[in-house]
């Protein structure tokens, strides 16, 4: 093995090894743990940087390890995986900082950070998976490593939420597994290849392939929280804020969406999927989810729950983009993978800040919070506006390309209304919050002030992460045309997928 083969492994290992070491650290060795976390995160960032450069220059990074005859664990870096890896690496670093601040003095930090690192490792592995088999392995590992994070607090609700999460994801995982095995039997090892590989199969397999597609999409749809498979997501809100941030923005939900992208583009091939008549179905499911999630979000008073339903809705933009045939729609979907991530993580960070600093959990308690915590609330506002699709925040870019793509593919008749309705609904559930935060008078006292030391705003470790991610969200929109921007990268991906 040479350097090119080792690099993907190192990317995974840079979070895995610190995680394993952290498990065995004493509860009190705070500094060592922090150092390990940060060193790991930064190292990963550097490695990923190399990866980006290499992939852009069409370097092949591939590690292969045989688990059983015909079943290889393959880590392979292509444009799509690099996109996702970068997203998770950057957000991991930010979230780690945030989590260090958030969990100060909380119990079981070793356990928490251990699983946290495992979770990120699983996500990165999933992103780098070179075939469906490897993808499934990391998909399940992700499930496993997030379970303890959701159950972390150990309260009955936490344990219950974790159980529901598990029931959904393991069930989905099982369907995914069955689909994968089936596909494996039909087509042999299903490596991810741009443009897909299944188009070569004889026509008599097509009915089976449709069933398999359904199995795979349902399996992935659970994590991607496609309606009606989304039930776990609001329940998992009991987890600590950094975990929620991770679940919604980086790891779990994204893994599902990413999987859908992979299956459609790199397993079936988008043209072949369309040929089988499956794209429309996927698109409709995504559309329903988008609208349904937004409507549900409208009626949540609990801030985190409102954000959760917002995630249900927003993640489906990715699926929607996938379902729109043609490079432009693809760009819209893929770029939203990143955009939704940075915006949503900002929202969760800020929601965590409100809860941690002032004890605010509900929208109705947010009156005037912008005056008490302006920086946080500013970050919140940027992200929320992005979600609605207000330019120049990143969300606008995604929606723009989705709309264009729909026009190009001739699907505008139903995609456009969905986009419009959803944006209106987004505005309907975010704008009132902003109004309350900025323009309403605060009440006599906050529900519970936790961090009195931070007279202004909140502690630095909690404040900086949302500020950074909000800035990123803004930058992604403003400098969308810059080289190496998410949009540019997504364009690269789309071109390679369509063989342009």
């Amino acid at each position: 093995m040479n350097w090119d083969a080792w690099l993907p492994v190192l990317v995974v290992a840079s979070s895995l090894l610190p995680g394993l070491v952290i498990f065995f650290l004493r509860e009190g060795s705070h500094r060592l743990r922090t150092a390990l976390n940060l060193v790991g995160a930064i190292l990963k960032l550097v490695l990923v940087g190399i990866l980006i450069w290499g992939v852009f220059h069409e370097h092949v990074y591939e590690s292969r390890w045989t688990l059983a005859p015909g079943l290889d664990l393959v880590l392979h870096a292509d444009t799509l995986s690099v996109l996702f890896v970068t997203l998770s690496t950057v957000l991991w670093l930010v979230t780690t900082v945030y989590a260090i601040g958030y969990l100060e003095n909380a119990p079981h930090r070793s356990r928490f950070f251990g699983f946290f690192s495992l979770c990120v490792s699983a996500t990165v592995g999933l992103a780098l998976a070179g075939n469906l088999f490897t993808f499934v392995i990391f998909y399940e590992l992700l499930t496993l490593s997030t379970y303890p994070l959701i159950a972390h607090r150990g309260t009955p609700e936490a344990v219950r939420g974790a159980r529901i999460y598990l029931a959904y994801t393991l069930g989905g995982g099982m369907l995914l597994l069955i689909g994968t095995v089936w596909l494996h039997v039909l087509a042999g090892p299903t490596a991810f290849v741009e443009g897909g590989i299944l188009g070569r199969l004889p026509a008599e397999y097509h009915p089976q392939l449709k069933v398999i597609f359904l199995l795979l999409i349902i399996g992935l749809g659970v994590k991607a929280a496609l309606v009606p498979l989304h039930g776990w997501l609001p329940q998992a809100m009991v987890a600590p804020a950094p975990v929620s941030a991770l679940l919604h923005a980086v790891a779990v939900v994204k893994a599902g969406a990413f999987g859908i992208v992979r299956v459609v583009y790199d397993v079936y091939g988008v043209n072949f999927t369309d040929q089988l008549g499956l794209l429309t179905g996927l698109g409709i499911a995504a559309a329903i989810t988008i609208v349904y999630g937004s409507i549900k979000a409208l009626f949540q008073d609990n801030l985190k729950k409102r954000l959760a339903y917002s995630t249900v809705s927003q993640v489906s933009y990715i699926a929607l983009g996938t379902a729109i045939l043609g490079p432009i729609g693809t760009i819209g979907g893929i770029v939203h993978l990143v955009h939704q991530g940075i915006m949503k993580i900002t929202l969760f960070f800020t929601a965590g800040n409100y809860a941690e600093t002032l004890g605010i959990h509900k929208v109705s308690e947010m009156n005037g919070v912008g005056r008490r915590m302006p920086a946080t609330t500013l970050a919140f506002s940027v992200a929320a506006l992005g979600m609605i699709g207000v330019p120049p925040v990143a969300g606008f870019v995604s929606k723009w390309y989705l709309g264009l793509g729909a026009l190009e593919a001739g699907m505008a008749a139903w995609v456009m209304p969905v986009l419009i309705i959803s944006s209106v609904l987004n505005a309907a559930y975010f704008l009132p919050v902003l109004y309350r935060a900025w323009f309403r008078e605060p009440g006599p006292a906050w529900p519970a002030e936790h961090i009195p030391a931070a007279r202004f705003e909140t502690s630095a470790a909690l404040l900086w992460p949302p500020v950074v991610t909000a800035t990123l969200a803004l930058a992604a929109g403003l400098f969308a045309a810059a080289p190496y921007s998410p949009l540019e990268w997504a364009t690269l991906i789309a071109h390679r997928e369509y063989g342009l």
Binding site: R26, E27, L67, A68, P69, G70, V136
Partner: protein, 478 residues
């Protein structure tokens, strides 16, 4: 290398005699004998890998007149697993049994059990197999009684009677084979056995006897009480190895010795029973109130999976696909062996530290015994069949075989069983992660926690990630 075969039988047996004669230093002697046995197993594994299948004619008498020991890839693998599991359990037992009198009783029986397992996996003679089965059964029962409680004695007695019945049926089959074919040698038999009343009846009787011993549904009734009431290290070996031994024989008989006698209908029957075992065992495990009972019922279920392979293997034509499926079967068996042994040892730690193993009252275990809880979680990963455990690869092959042969029922059963397994495992973990007043305890990993951790890591990580050689080894047949 063939001397390693003798060593595998003679070393633990010598150890048993030595521990009997030297009760004061029994622990040291036993661990020493165990180490030596493990080395022999490793030597054998390498020998088989490098030189192919090995055989040894006992006493120098030609095969048929004398007894021949045989080792191929399958037996070498199972022997290796036996040694590793038994060694780990031995280390645990050295901490578990504290009183000198307990040790003096435990070690000789323990090494006799080990002897019998090794002898069984090596045996190349039908009647010799009967003797090893009896040695296995009796030593297992004797060890199970060491729990000391009345429940243990009651369960052990039932276990013994069932085991005896099983051996008698087996012996009846063996007699019939000798009557019909005039030989007992396992390698000679495939050449002379032909489909017909003799072979069918003999196989049916032997299989029934073995199914009793391996506790396939509906003949599983004796297992949960016996495995749940034995001392932890004993339970570990009972669930991980002893039932496996009988299963190994079923496998040998059906796939090697009587390969041209077995019919798809019969294999489907086995598969159906396996399916029932998976569902019923998992369901009962979910209902269990005690951790040990859960583990025992889970054994019933896990054995069921192994039987799901029979209809697949029979439907697949000989060739690479079939070899893949067979490898999956062995992988599943190996993983379960390590995982279940580790699980029982971990439960033993909990039982001793907490004074009970009631699942409802396990809240906070993750805080008090993080390493042990982690071991349980790893075991759970392997039992559910999640990656990166070996069981994942095994179930993959199971599913692939089911798809390949169009036997969708097994696919549904496997999926349902896995989800049920997840349910019962995470019921435990849910309690373990449950909230308890925060004790700022350092992470301790004591001598009795290590074995469980290593065994479960073996099942959940090593076998899954480094299991490819298993398929290679299995190509080495007798």
């Amino acid at each position: 290398m063939t001397d390693a075969m003798i060593g595998l039988v003679a070393l633990p047996l010598t150890g048993a005699v030595a521990t009997l004669l030297l009760p004061r230093s029994a622990t040291v002697v036993a661990i020493g004998a165990g180490l030596a046995t493990t080395i022999a197993a490793a030597l054998l594994l390498f020998g088989v890998a490098n030189q192919g299948a090995l055989h040894y004619e006992m006493g120098g008498w030609s095969t048929g007149l004398g007894i021949t020991l045989r080792a191929d890839g399958l037996s070498a693998l199972l022997l290796m697993m036996t040694s590793l599991v038994a060694l780990a359990a031995s280390v645990y037992a050295s901490a578990y049994f504290s009183a000198a009198s307990e040790r003096a009783r435990f070690w000789p029986l323990w090494l006799l059990l080990w002897t019998s397992l090794n002898a069984l996996f090596l045996s190349g003679d039908l009647f010799n197999l009967y003797v090893t089965l009896e040695l296995l059964g009796l030593s297992a029962v004797a060890l199970a009684t060491l729990g000391g409680k009345r429940a243990a004695a009651e369960a052990a007695l039932r276990y013994l009677l069932v085991g005896l019945l099983g051996s008698m049926l087996f012996l009846a089959g063996v007699s019939l084979i000798y009557a019909g074919y005039g030989t007992l040698d396992l390698a000679t038999l495939p050449r002379v056995v032909e489909p017909g009343p003799i072979a069918w009846t003999a196989l049916a009787m032997m299989t029934t006897g073995l199914l009793l011993k391996t506790a396939l549904f509906p003949l599983h009734f004796w297992l949960p009480p016996a495995h749940a009431s034995a001392p932890a290290p004993v339970s570990a070996v009972l669930s991980a190895l002893v039932v496996k031994a009988a299963f190994y024989l079923v496998l040998r008989l059906w796939l090697d010795v009587f390969a041209n006698v077995v019919t798809p209908v019969a294999a489907n029957l086995l598969g159906l029973l396996g399916a029932c075992a998976v569902l019923w065992g998992s369901w009962r495990a979910l209902q269990a109130e005690r951790l040990k009972l859960l583990a025992a019922w889970s054994t019933v279920a896990q054995l069921g999976y192994l039987f799901l392979f029979f209809p697949l293997l029979l439907a697949l034509p000989p060739g690479p696909t079939r070899d893949l499926a067979a490898g999956g079967l062995v992988m599943l068996a190996l993983t379960h062996g390590f995982a279940k042994a580790g699980l029982f040892l971990a439960i033993g730690v909990i039982q001793q530290r907490c004074g009970h193993d009631t699942i409802r009252d396990l809240d906070g275990t993750a805080q008090h015994l993080p390493a042990t809880t982690f071991a349980i979680a790893l075991a759970g990963v392997a039992l559910i069949g999640l990656p990166p455990s070996g069981a994942f690869l095994g179930k993959w092959q199971l599913l692939a075989g089911a798809v390949e042969t169009g036997q969708w029922l097994w696919l549904v059963v496997t999926a349902t069983g896995s989800l049920l397994a997840a349910a019962y495992i995470f019921r435990v973990l849910g309690h373990a992660f449950g909230h308890q007043p925060y004790p700022n305890q350092p992470v301790t990993v004591a001598r009795e926690e290590w074995p469980a951790l290593l065994l479960t890591a073996m099942a959940a990580l090593v076998l899954g990630l480094g299991g490819a050689p298993v398929w290679k080894l299995l190509e080495i047949g007798t």
